[in-house]
Amino acid sequence: METHSCRVSTQDDNERVALLQGTLDLLILRILIFGQQHGQGIARAIEQQTDGTLLVDHGSLYPALQRLESREWIEAEWGTSENNRKARFYRLTRAGRKQLTAGTSQWYRLSGAIARILGPDQA
């Protein structure tokens, strides 16, 4: 299974948190709920909405975006950004929306199960 590197900013710069690929896909889908966005915007959104906990290697977004695009959960077209740059904008499809719902509930079930095994948070 592929993993992607993200940096967690509050900790050591050299520490990496391995994210399962399904999770990154889910994050992207979630962010696109709010409307269409280009690659840089998605990366920024992930960083912002996790208050900087997750800093993604922007480049590693693209394999995920391509995967999502080939599954037709997102679709893309060229457009112009706020500051008049040409960029490729992604947007959720109906199938993508359905997948987001299914994926989110699955994630909660999974993380809940793991949490029960690991016990209450010690941090």
């Binding site: 590197s5 280009h38 690659g39 840089q40 915007g41 990366a43 920024r44 800093l55 290697d57 922007h58 480049g59 590693s60 693209y62 394999p63 391509q66 695009e69 080939s70 599954r71 037709e72 679709e75 893309a76 060229w78 950004s81 500051n83 740059r85 040409k86 960029a87 490729r88 199938a95």
Partner: protein, 869 residues
């Protein structure tokens, strides 16, 4: 999964650059300097190059995986319906195989460049009716021409005898001038070819061997260089020659097919090529100077001819004669090009029929898989994906078909080569080279794509709706199937009609009035090899053949014997112009001339229509006599009776007999006017014959058994007399019609294949229609329709596309047969009985093909049928 919606390589590069730019902008907005912003933006992206590379890689892998998945799936799906796969594959193999086979021949003869240096700059210079060019003319051209870089003389093979170290062997020999090989750019395999030094007085007479002759007779032994031999043939006698070289194995002597039909011996490749140092008439091959065309050369050489010729020829002959320079390849191929292209068109038609059939088969399959497609669509597959699936299947079939086709072409190579060899001697191999491979691949791919697309045409994006609607909406698909069927029948009609026309041509040629009886007739060329002044030569020749005919006539197994300067189908004959009946205007054109011994007409069984044959009384000293044929009488001298004088070759001859017409070089052309003169009376005329053909009619029919006796009789009169071109008249005639026979055979074969394929198509359509309408049939049977009514009903419905196809085919054939009109003989290309017969044949076969599945329909159990939903 499809990658159709991903970015292209370029787009992705743009996208990543945009990403970095946007991030840079943001960081600048947050207060960083431009430099720092750029660095940080790149760093947070990660390794841009690596991201891009991963993208490119994944795209390629994706594409390959898609292909692999499609192929695997297509294989599985074909495997699930083996019946369809086998039928489709067989049909494709035959269609593609025939095309590849014929194309490989077209390639070998028409497309492949000749094995000379810059072969498209080589030309052949001719001026009919002369069979070659005299020495003074060749000199004049060589000295004065600017359009030619060089020209050489050569003379084709003749049979001769080679004596090397006391070992005589029959060979075919050719002659060439010193610059011949240099002009062609031939590098010898051993030793050298001719040089200018060989022409100097005192130099020994040299010769080169062909590669196959060298391996055959001398075992490929290099010590053959420097050995001498004696060669006796038509133009040289007993000169000792030195072997100075061996030609490479791929060398071909430029032997052109003579105009008209092929005599048996004209096309052989020579075993020995000797340096020609005499003034004989020779064929001329030239190399064009840079920037000149064949047309330029024609004009220039014509001009030089007109300047130089008046010193040698009469003015009106010079006036009438045109010099023609033809590109070598065109001349060597000749009429065969036309026939080969016809064949190619025919196999193309077969392929069309095959395509239509495959499309129909695929269409039935697609329709049958509708439920499967509907499910796939519901599961999210896009139309494009399904199209790709169908195309992969048809391309896969085409690929297998192409492989089978190449195998078939390879296997039929031997047959093709022997078919060709009769006609074109300069092509000995029919290789499967890159052009043939490319052709096969392109044709197979086109067939696959075309058939696949055609089958999908009726399956629009509306098929999912139609499934939902629950009906078997067959209208669109059925219409397409019927259209394809009509097209197939039309094409098959044209093919079968052409084959029928060609077969009738063959029949007509075989039974064409010949005027002579060629059975049990042995013919051989005999050259006494006399020398001396012209009157001496004429005398010697005449007495020689008188004695020879007498000797042979004494043999018990010989019924009759004669000698003649020319016999039918032995090549162009000598002609004479300005012949006229005394007191009337000259006959238009030239009149053929033959010198004969008495008994010629009896031996050939040519009918004597009036007067008498020559006899012992027609001696040189007596009145000059002649016999003419019907064509002569028709040519402007009628009425003509024995006793009429004619003006011929500057003297007056009395016509003593009139004979039936006989063919000259071709069965197709009308007989030419002929004047026969006794050979005894050629003494003192302008005619010199070094060689006559003897004709021997065997008593009781076994003419080949006579050969040794005849050889003995000839050699009794001189032991180095050349006997060549021994054959029977039947063989000569058979050789003449051989091209027709091969054409008719091949066309017939192709037409038969197309017919079978088309009828399989009819069968398929009817069978399909029956299977689709089982319910309806069940209802009709339940309502009281009899077996016969059901069957006739179905058959009648399938009849109209066939009739329609025949109609279109007939109309097309009227136009299309213009291409074969030139090869037909004694039959019009719009011959109504042939059209009717073809139509009837097609209808009958179609009815049969439809009847078989229709019968099965009649066996449908109404109860079971009604239950089918």
């Amino acid at each position: 999964m499809s990658r159709r919606h991903g970015p292209s390589d370029d787009e992705f590069r743009e996208e990543t650059e945009a990403h970095v730019a946007l991030e840079t902008d943001r960081l600048i907005a947050e207060g960083l300097s431009r430099e720092d912003a750029e660095i940080t933006a790149r760093r947070s992206f990660g390794n841009v190059t690596r991201v891009r590379e991963r993208f490119y890689e994944s795209r390629r892998v994706m594409w390959l995986e898609d292909l692999r998945q499609d192929t695997r799936f297509a294989l599985r799906s074909l495997g699930r319906s083996p019946g369809f796969a086998v039928v489709a594959l067989l049909t494709l193999a035959i269609g593609l195989g025939a095309n590849t086979a014929i194309f490989s021949v077209v390639n070998a003869v028409l497309l492949r460049p000749l094995a000379y240096r810059d072969p498209d700059r080589l030309i052949l210079v001719e001026h009919p009716p002369l069979g070659g060019s005299p020495f003074w003319l060749r000199d004049a051209w060589r000295a004065r021409s600017h359009t030619l870089a060089d020209l050489a003389g050569f003379e084709r093979s003749a049979s001769g005898t080679l004596v090397a170290g006391n070992q005589p062997m029959p060979v075919s020999a050719a002659h060439a001038t010193a610059n011949f090989f240099a002009l062609l750019g031939t590098t010898p395999a051993l030793g050298r070819t001719f040089t200018a030094r060989d022409m100097q007085p005192g130099a020994s007479a040299v010769a080169v061997l062909s590669h196959s002759f060298w391996t055959r007779q001398f075992g490929g032994n290099p010590d053959v260089l420097g050995r001498t031999f004696m060669l006796t043939d038509m133009t040289v006698t007993g000169e000792e020659r030195v072997i100075v070289g061996v030609l490479p194995p791929d060398f071909r002597f430029p032997v052109a097919d003579p105009p008209g039909d092929t005599p048996l011996f004209a096309g052989m490749q020579p075993d020995v090529i000797v340096l020609s140092r005499d003034d004989a008439f020779q064929q001329v091959i030239g190399r064009l100077a840079p920037g000149s065309t064949a047309a330029d050369a024609s004009t220039e050489l014509s001009g030089i001819f007109k300047q130089a010729a008046p010193a040698y020829y009469r003015a009106n002959f010079v006036e009438r004669t045109r010099v023609l320079a033809t590109p070598l390849q065109d001349r060597l191929v000749g009429e065969t090009r036309h026939r080969l292209l016809l064949l190619l068109a025919a196999v193309g038609c077969v392929l069309l029929v095959v395509c239509a059939n495959i499309a129909n088969l695929l269409l039935a399959r697609v329709t049958g898989r509708q439920p499967e497609f509907a499910i796939r669509a519901a599961l999210g597959a896009r139309t494009g994906r399904l199209v790709r699936m169908i195309l992969t299947e048809s391309l896969l079939l085409a690929a297998f078909g192409a492989a089978a086709a190449l195998l078939l072409a390879y296997w039929s190579n031997g047959v093709l080569r022997s078919l060709l060899a009769a006609r074109i001697s300069f092509v000995e191999t029919v290789p499967i080279d890159w052009r043939v491979l490319a052709f096969t691949i392109v044709v197979a791919a086109t067939t696959g794509v075309f058939s696949g697309l055609a089958s999908l045409m009726a399956v629009g994006s509306g098929y999912a709706k139609s499934i939902v609607a629950g009906g078997r909406s067959v209208t669109g698909r059925t219409r397409l199937r019927l259209v394809l069927l009509v097209a197939e029948v039309a094409v098959v009609f044209v093919l079968v009609l052409t084959a029928a026309l060609l077969s009738q041509t063959l029949w007509n040629l075989h039974h064409a009035r010949r005027g002579f009886d060629g059975s049990h007739l042995l013919i051989a060329g005999v050259m006494p090899g006399a020398s001396g002044t012209i009157p001496e030569l004429q005398n010697l020749t005449s007495t020689f053949f008188d004695r020879l005919v007498e000797q042979i006539g004494r043999l018990p197994a010989v019924e009759s014997v004669a000698a003649a300067s020319t016999v039918p189908f032995s090549g162009p004959t000598m002609g004479m112009s300005d012949v006229s009946v005394v007191g009337r205007p000259a006959i238009n054109g030239t009149v053929s001339v033959a010198a004969i011994t008495p008994g010629y007409f009896a031996t050939m069984q040519i009918g004597l229509l009036g007067g008498r044959d020559f006899g012992r009384a027609d001696l040189p000293a007596r009145d000059r006599v002649a016999i003419v044929n019907e064509a002569f009488v028709r040519a402007g001298a009628s009425p003509l009776t024995p006793g009429t004088p004619i003006q011929f070759d500057g003297s007056q001859l009395t016509v003593v007999g009139i004979v039936e017409d006989t063919p000259d070089t071709s069965l197709r052309q009308p007989a030419r006017p002929f004047v026969y003169v006794p050979i005894a009376q050629t003494v003192g005329s302008h005619f010199v014959f070094g060689r006559l053909t003897i004709l021997v009619r065997a008593r009781g029919g076994n003419q080949t058994a006579l050969i040794p006796a005849i050889r003995d009789a000839v050699w009794a009169l001189g032991h180095d007399i050349v006997i060549d071109e021994v054959s029977t008249m039947d063989e000569r005639v058979a050789a003449v019609v051989r091209t027709e026979r091969d054409s008719a055979f091949l066309f017939g074969l192709l037409a038969a294949i197309a017919l079978v394929v088309a009828m399989a198509g009819v069968y398929g359509v009817v069978a399909y229609s029956v299977s689709q309408r089982t319910r309806e049939i069940g209802i009709r049977t339940a309502l009281g329709a009899s077996h016969r009514q059901v069957v006739t009903g179905i058959v009648r419905e399938s009849a109209w596309p066939v009739v329609f196809g025949i109609g279109i085919g007939g109309a097309t054939a009227v136009v299309a047969t213009r291409a074969v009109a030139s090869v037909l003989f004694e039959i019009r290309r719009t011959d109504p009985p042939t059209y009717v017969a073809t139509a009837v044949a097609l209808i009958l076969t179609a009815l049969m093909a439809a009847w078989i599945p229709a019968r099965r329909a009649a066996g449908v159990d109404p109860v079971a049928a009604l239950r089918v939903e």
